[in-house]
């Protein structure tokens, strides 16, 4: 597991925010994700459920799919996943299945979060993979993008 500095974490979270911004432009719920290994981004993703009409196409799943493809392996050992918003149940399950050891997220999701809010999937000792979780990196920017989206949607 890499021990990134606060500056490095913020730099990678800004890359995740760029992905969230792509989703925002497409009128998707603006969540973005990057997966980093040895300081290099090996997967990027943004929520694309409406664009692609694929229920599973959350930011984290898109990034995991790309990282699996890039490394030709389903196991993402030594990788760190940066995501703007706390992962949901599906994505938390996927992170464990991909054996990702470290997750950094921006803002919590009180309604659907499964990395501490509704559930604590990533640290469940009964599952055969545990993940180190850190939150609060660029929290305000990550949360603001969501607030902007829902404010605009209510206006329509």
């Amino acid at each position: 597991m890499m021990d990134y500095t606060k500056e490095e974490k913020e730099r990678f979270m800004r890359e995740a925010l760029k992905e969230a911004h792509i989703a925002l432009k497409l009128e998707e719920i603006p969540i973005g994700c990057v997966i980093v290994k040895d300081g290099e981004i090996i997967g990027r993703g943004h929520n694309a459920r409406e664009e692609l009409q694929r229920a599973v196409m959350h930011a984290e799943i898109m990034a995991i799919e790309e990282a699996n493809s890039q490394t030709s392996s389903w196991r993402l050992l030594d990788a760190t996943l940066f995501v703007t918003i706390e992962p949901c149940v599906m994505c938390s399950g996927a992170i464990g299945l991909a054996r990702i050891p470290q997750v950094v997220f921006g803002a919590t999701n009180q309604k659907f979060g499964a990395a501490g809010s509704l559930y604590d999937i990533l640290t469940d000792e009964r599952l055969n993979h545990r993940v180190a979780v850190e939150s609060g990196i660029l929290e305000e920017e990550c949360a603001q993008m969501m607030q902007e989206f829902f404010r605009n949607r209510r206006k329509k």
Copy 2:
């Protein structure tokens, strides 16, 4: 939600078992799935994690992806998902996100099941989608295929 007879449920579970058999031949953990709408199969899937080196490629995810593609919609309203083994955390989350109203599974998974065993994701009232769950359809055949796989693996 469709009210299929016991014979119909067994017929669809046999189709899921055919998918599980494909996985078994590929030396994957043998789990299979079909998604049915108005009596027609709109998605099929088998576990293909090793074959495709994709961490998320469980039977249910493959079937949901095909059903989304077939119907050009991320919402699988009025669909029933048949799967040989109780869904894991990721797949239970995906079933809810795809708005599938009904799940029928064969055998429970005491170690990783999230539809009653470790978690009860599909009926969690805090999530914004609840699923009717039935288990025990062709339970023995479904469980036997898993036992055969793990027995063969231990021999190697």
